[in-house]
């Protein structure tokens, strides 16, 4: 019975992230439009777009290979699995131990790997430019992320996300190192999701685009999967920030249905706050030049390293 309930909770989490991810995108878009005094499309619009895309015929470039056709499924699956392993409303779900924080980051890395390859498959210069820049961003963002992982897991003594969240709930206090890690994680999250000021998700046909350039040739269901994966990635980063730094209201896996409902409400609220902050930040910031991005990410890396060193120093005193 308990096992059934646990598996059910895990299944609910998988479907929950899937359902919420496009809504989050829609919410951010709506808010951005309102901030610019436009009316904006309804929040459900991304879902409508996805459904429309799924029904459309795919137009494949003439020399697209099998890799190009597999990649969307793989990318989507990897990011979906990663997103379902991050605690959202409850910690310690049945399969949460199958991958720790490092493995989740690496899963995102795998998805990036295949996306960048898919970008190069058709052999157009737009695809190449996107892949090349994505590889550069990745090679700076990933180490920064690892430094954040180091900091958090030195503090909590574990790399299991559920355990980290439990530790953070039990030991609520302000730590300079964790604060620095939070700032670093925000920087990484912005870069990894291709948001302003690193990349503009609304852009098209610009030489500065990165993510859009890689997926330029995709259409129909493949495009839908990649868009959904991108939405899931944004949701994942917000869940990660919420679960590690603001674990208020997170239910334990054996807390029963009522605590889980509270956890769910808290989670949706946290997502709304995160999305609101993102929309506000994006409307007040300008996009930066592509070669300023390494400086931006370098700042994240340095902050992460400082946080790690700080933990090392303070722990042994």
């Amino acid at each position: 019975m308990t096992l059934l309930f646990n598996i059910l909770a895990q299944g609910v989490q998988m479907l929950l992230v899937l359902a919420l991810a496009p809504l989050l995108i829609g919410f951010v878009r709506k808010l951005k439009a309102r901030l610019l005094r436009r009316k904006g499309p309804p929040i459900i619009q991304p879902w409508l777009d996805l459904i429309r895309l799924l029904r459309k015929e795919v137009v494949l470039a003439e020399n697209a290979s099998w890799l190009y056709r597999w990649a969307p499924y793989l990318i989507f699956a990897m990011i979906w699995v990663a997103a379902s392993l991050v605690p959202t409303f409850a910690t310690g779900l049945t399969f949460s131990w199958s991958a720790d924080l490092i493995a989740i980051i690496a899963l995102l890395g795998s998805a990036r790997f295949f996306l960048a390859l898919a970008g190069m498959d058709i052999g157009t210069s737009f695809g190449g430019i996107g892949s090349s820049r994505e590889a550069m961003f990745g090679s700076l963002a990933e180490p920064a992320m690892m430094m954040i992982v180091f900091t958090v897991s030195f503090v909590a003594g574990t790399t299991q996300l559920s355990e980290i969240a439990a530790y953070m709930v039990a030991n609520m206090e302000l730590r300079a190192s964790v604060g620095m890690a939070l700032v670093a994680l925000l920087i990484v999250a912005i870069a990894e999701n291709g948001r302003i000021p690193v990349d503009n998700p609304a852009t098209h046909l610009e030489l500065t685009m990165v993510h859009e350039a890689m997926v330029l040739e995709y259409s129909g269901r493949y495009l839908a999967l990649i868009e959904l994966a991108a939405a899931l990635k944004l949701l994942l980063y917000l869940s990660l920030i919420a679960c590690v730094f603001f674990p208020v209201g997170l239910a334990s896996h054996d807390a029963g249905a009522e605590a889980m409902m509270i956890g769910l409400c808290a989670y949706v609220l946290k997502l709304a706050i995160g999305g609101g902050a993102l929309a506000l930040f994006e409307t007040t910031t300008a996009k930066m030049r592509i070669f300023r991005v390494p400086d931006f990410l370098g700042a994240g890396l340095m902050l992460g390293l400082l946080a790690t060193l700080l933990v090392f120093v303070t722990r042994s005193l």
């Binding site: 015929e57 003439e62 892949s131 330029l216 839908a224």
Partner: protein, 665 residues
């Protein structure tokens, strides 16, 4: 029994060398030699994994120096490396049955190839300094001969020269190391060395010499300069052996000397392996990222991986010195796990590169492209190798890097400040090299295999023969197995860790669902099998849902590309343009790189030119002054060759007196 079996196989390998010379007129000689090598490597592999009866088996044969003889021994460490060497050896031989048929001058490969295999096995089996050094030099010389297979090319001759120079330098350092270890009394068998007491200065000296000697063979920066020249120069199956296996023999030597012969470690021993390991990881991956020669790229990435192994070994030393058995076992296991992994995927990638080279005649990825259409099977297998080496789940490269990270995460409990502050820096280097490594393989695969063919040769390429494909498929399967079922491998390594660092990781087979948890499940765990199953399940269910409720129709049309019509495949992104962002952001620190744009004035009709100068700082600031110093010394000593006979006699007499005085004191 397994020891005698192993030694018999080694002598049989030497006999195969002789056979290759005797039977050189035969058309089938190449095929026969490689078949025999597969068989012998297979038996050696069995000798490594079969139950030994005793924990350690050793023997002394009355060969070599009189009264000393040659000592051989198999213990857990030897058995592990024997397995790695012969797995790689068997794979390379199987690949070569197909690949070797294209060799234009087979007699430059066949006699040396079995001898090279025998040499590597002998290094691992040796149990005294004399045997070890003889086997080591034998291995160096046979591999040198293999590097010179295509000696008509100027570049290869230079590679052979640099390799010989560095190998003799490394061998010299090892000679000194064993000299210091054996002491004045001259007890050179490993058993006596193990029991002798070592003073503080001696251990420091031996550690440095071992690091130089073994590191120069393994490709540890800054002694790596020969590696990217020599490894690619050899035929591809030999490149695979040199990169995938011979570097591991050097790692074996380092472990044998530092973890075994030198006795209980002090904490500062860990500083050198970690520092140089981190430097190698970064230098290796940065140079790999800007290379456009596929085999050179793989060679540079070997340097990166060797760096990762040395980082893990350094961590193991630090933990062992502080009596922290469990973390030491974790770091040590991570190192050996990576040794095994790297031997698998590096061989796989070199085989793939060999297949590409054979099919298209091109080593530069700038003139390839679109191979996924012309060589679909190779493309799939090479992709698997890229995913594995880029440390991406669910393949095996990720597992070993994950273990290294877990070891790093245990380091705050180390008491010494030096190590404590060094470890986070090493951690950044490791994370950076892992991320850059992924980028490097995106570039290598994307430019060579994806897109449109940039040359006629790339368009006309075709998959290699069954032997080559089969070998690559077996290696990829092994990579996948090691990635999905790491617990089995960790449990196999744990007896080695117990003997060499005095602790073992918790038995992984007892955990549910075949997951791995290095310390405790509440601390960290990873389950490759489950993650892989989840990914497959999610991908297939997504596909099913879409095909059921959406549509499965698709249509082919010209590429969209924002409406531009690109006619020439040369307008694709090239390898150097792909590397440009990384060259520009990180290149300035790592290698002095300068982009120069020569833009003609308006109205001028000459073409604009962009040239990129890349300089290896290590070469400029370390080796170039060294070469100059050696040359000026040689010029200074030149007068000695023009003396009269009386002067020579006087010189000899003076030297004799000086040495006698030295001995008397």
């Amino acid at each position: 029994m397994p020891l005698y079996l192993a030694l018999t196989c080694v002598s049989a390998l030497l006999a195969v060398s002789v056979y290759a010379i005797v039977d050189r007129r035969n058309h089938d000689v190449s095929r026969n030699v490689y078949r025999l090598c597969i068989g012998l490597c297979g038996v050696l592999f069995l000798a490594a994994v079969m139950p030994r009866g005793a924990h350690v088996v050793s023997t002394a044969l009355p060969l070599g120096l009189p009264w000393i003889g040659m000592h051989f021994r198999i213990d857990v460490l030897t058995a592990f490396f024997l397995a790695v060497v012969n797995l790689g050896g068997a794979a390379a031989s199987a690949y070569a049955i197909g690949y070797g048929a294209h060799e234009k001058e087979p007699m430059r490969v066949l006699p040396f190839y079995p001898a090279f295999l025998a040499g590597m096995n002998l290094v691992v089996l040796a149990d005294d300094a004399f045997t070890f050094l003889v086997a080591w030099e034998f291995m160096s010389l046979t591999s040198w001969a293999l590097v010179l297979t295509h000696h008509h090319e100027e570049e290869n001759r230079r590679a052979g020269f640099v390799y010989l120079l560095m190998a003799s330098f490394g061998g010299f350092a090892l000679l000194m190391a064993f000299g210091v270890l054996g002491g004045v009394a001259g007890a050179y068998d490993f058993a006596s060395i193990r029991e002798s007491t070592k003073e503080g200065w001696k251990t420091g000296l031996v550690l440095a010499l071992a690091l130089v000697g073994m590191g120069s063979k393994a490709g540890l920066a800054p002694l790596h300069i020969w590696l990217p020249l020599a490894h690619p120069a050899a035929p591809s199956h030999v490149s695979a052996l040199m990169s995938g296996v011979m570097t591991k023999v050097a790692i074996y030597g380092f472990i044998r000397v530092v973890f075994d012969l030198l006795g209980p470690p002090a904490f500062w021993w860990s500083v050198e392996p970690m520092t140089f390991g981190a430097a190698s990881a970064l230098i290796g991956v940065l140079f790999a990222t800007i290379q456009s020669d596929l085999k050179k790229l793989l060679a540079y990435s070997t340097i990166e991986n060797i760096g990762i192994i040395f980082i893990a070994l350094g961590l193991a030393l630090a933990f062992k010195a502080n009596g922290m058995a469990l973390p030491a076992a974790l770091a040590f296991t991570a190192a050996l796990f990576h040794v095994f992994n790297h031997s698998l995927f590096k061989s796989l990638l070199f085989f793939g590169a060999g297949a590409v080279l054979n099919a298209s005649g091109e080593r530069s990825i700038e003139r390839l492209g679109g191979l996924i259409h012309s060589m679909p099977k190779t493309a799939f297998l090479f992709l698997g190798g890229c995913v594995a080496i880029a440390a991406l789940p669910p393949l095996n490269g990720f597992v070993s890097e994950w273990l290294v990270f877990q070891a790093i995460l245990l380091s705050p409990s180390l008491p010494q400040w030096t190590v404590k502050l060094l470890v986070p820096a090493v951690g950044v280097a490791l994370a950076l090299s892992a991320a850059l490594g992924a980028g490097c393989y995106i570039r290598a695969y994307g430019v060579a295999f994806l897109g449109r063919p940039r040359s006629e040769a790339a368009r006309a390429a075709h998959d290699p023969d069954r032997w080559s494909l089969g070998t690559m498929a077996v290696l990829l399967t092994l990579c996948l197995m090691a990635g999905l079922l790491p617990s089995l491998l960790i449990d196999m390594i744990s007896p080695v860790a117990k003997d060499f660092v005095g602790g073992r990781m918790p038995t992984q087979a007892e955990l549910s669902w075949l997951s791995i948890a290095p310390v405790a499940e509440s601390r960290s765990s990873y389950n490759g099998l489950l993650v892989f199953a989840f990914i497959l399940f999610s991908a297939y269910s997504a596909r099913w849902v879409i095909h059921k409720f959406g549509t499965a129709r698709s249509r082919r049309a010209p590429a969209w590309d924002c409406g531009y019509i690109e006619t020439s495949p040369m307008t694709q992104y090239t390898a150097s343009s792909f590397a440009q962002p990384i060259r520009r952001t990180l290149g300035v620190i790592a290698f002095s790189v300068r982009d120069r744009l020569d833009m003609p004035a308006p109205g001028d009709t000459r073409p604009a030119r962009l040239s990129v100068d890349i300089k290896d700082r290590i070469f400029d600031y370390l080796y170039a002054p060294l070469t100059r110093a050696v040359e000026s010394c040689a010029a200074g000593l030149n007068i000695l060759s023009l003396l009269t006979i009386q002067e020579y006699l006087a010189l000899v007499f003076a030297a004799l007196v000086f040495l006698l005085v030295l001995v008397a004191i």
